[in-house]
Amino acid sequence: MFDRYMIVEDAVRNVRRDGKAVGFEFERGSPTTAGWDSMVEGLDVTVDGEKVPRENLRFAVGGKTFTLDKMETEYEARWEFGDAATVTVLQDGGLAPGEHRLELVENLRVAYMPFPLQGRDAKIVSAGG
């Protein structure tokens, strides 16, 4: 639902540590309903047609950062309505200059829906802009 707002295209930036780009991050817009972090059933990120391994993804919301495995059992942290989450992709060198096709597929378990709520968005982005 409201898939087109999932990737915030002007909030993509490289993540640097000790002056070296170790990945990039982008904002995932506000969810349609608040819930626990554990209710994010799955998150798939594809950059230029290449799927990012699950272990290279980090999900941050409310000031806390989790791996996807850790998030499955995170029953205390909540993803509040109105809060954008930050998805970090660990990738040496970050996002190279120029345009890239970024795809995000997200499955949420929502209590009032009898099936996982799946959202898809794809945008052309560039780091820092």
Binding site: M1, F2, M39, Y75, R109, F115
Partner: protein
């Protein structure tokens, strides 16, 4: 809009009854500080509004791979009851229809379809466990009477369809005039049929569930509300899509409101003609062992005690069973 701005806008529109969806609206829920409750009461006073219901979302899918157990739901439900009664000061709690009725001590429900077997099962259980006390109720949701599949439902349904099928339907959806979207109710059976023929995988199962969701929340004749008026004391109105003239085209409020008015008149007349008022009403509709009592069968019709329970709505309709006058 902030939460306060929403309340102010509702009050300005003349809607003085506010339903709290704390799990979504109140950041920090369920651990809200006392200051929040003070602020909430301040808003109610400031805008002349009243909290009429608290929504217990009961995140039954909190744990991956399983639903919360009845005991876990009970703990969460107890928390919501406390939240509603002690902190917010309202007596009505809305519960999702996905939650097992075994989790509730004295439920108030939000059925997807008034005549569903699930609702009948809940109603029977509630009547029998509370012995017709004032806690028995049905809280119908207006969406159960919608005449179209709303855009949000449609958007979420897309994810369960193959891309080519979803795109084709989307093109039709976008091309249609809102007034003609009645045709879109066909997506439910269409999705189901497609997935029955499709590959045997998880996507098919999900597609079927989407289809069922579309089908069962599409339409129930508003006139059937009048049958349940003794148990209705709160209506959960919804507005999925508003036209520019302020009309909600998907939910036939022009039929719902008259049905409720008619039902209210009938209920008042019935109550006033009972010699002993509500106590007699309770005894009449209690599914107890008292002679002369009536109850709901699992198919949604009314039967007198001693009659055979009818197992399907189809049979109920064939029998033409009606609530006893």
């Amino acid at each position: 809009m902030s939460l306060e701005q929403c309340i102010a806008a509702a009050a300005a529109a003349g809607a003085r009854g506010i339903e709290s969806i704390a799990g979504t609206d109140d950041a920090g829920f369920p651990r809200l500080p006392d200051a929040f409750y003070d602020q909430w009461r301040g808003w109610m006073d400031k805008y002349g509004t009243t909290l009429t219901a608290h929504d217990a979302m009961l995140d039954t899918k909190k744990c991956k791979g399983r639903l919360l157990t009845d005991e876990e739901c009970m703990v969460e439900f107890e928390r919501d009851l406390r939240q509603a009664r002690r902190s917010l000061g309202c007596k009505v709690v809305r519960v999702l229809c996905m939650v097992s009725p075994r989790s509730w001590p004295r439920p108030c429900r939000s059925p997807s379809a008034t005549t569903s077997r699930w609702v009948s099962r809940c109603t029977r259980r509630t009547i029998s466990t509370t012995r017709g006390s004032c806690g028995t109720s049905k809280r119908p949701s207006a969406s159960a009477r919608s005449t179209t599949v709303s855009s949000p439902t449609w958007e979420s349904s897309r994810s369960a369809c193959p891309a080519w099928r979803a795109d084709a339907w989307s093109a039709r959806w976008d091309a249609e005039d809102p007034g003609l979207r009645l045709r879109s109710v066909r997506i439910g059976p269409a999705v189901r049929v497609h997935h029955l023929r499709g590959p045997q995988d998880g996507r098919k199962r999900r597609g079927r569930r989407v289809a069922e969701q579309c089908r069962h929340s599409v339409y129930t004749n508003p006139k059937r509300l009048t049958e349940f008026m003794p148990y209705i004391f709160h209506i959960h109105a919804k507005f999925y899509e508003m036209l520019d003239d302020g009309t909600e085209y998907g939910i036939p409020y022009d039929k719902i409101i008259p049905a409720l008015k008619a039902g209210t008149t009938r209920a008042i007349r019935r109550a006033s003609t009972r010699a002993t008022g509500t106590s007699r009403m309770r005894s009449r509709w209690t599914a107890s062992s008292r002679s002369g009592g009536s109850t709901l069968c699992s198919g949604g019709c009314w039967r007198r005690r001693g009659e055979r329970d009818v197992r399907s709505l189809h049979d109920c309709r064939r029998r033409g069973s009606q609530r006893p006058a």
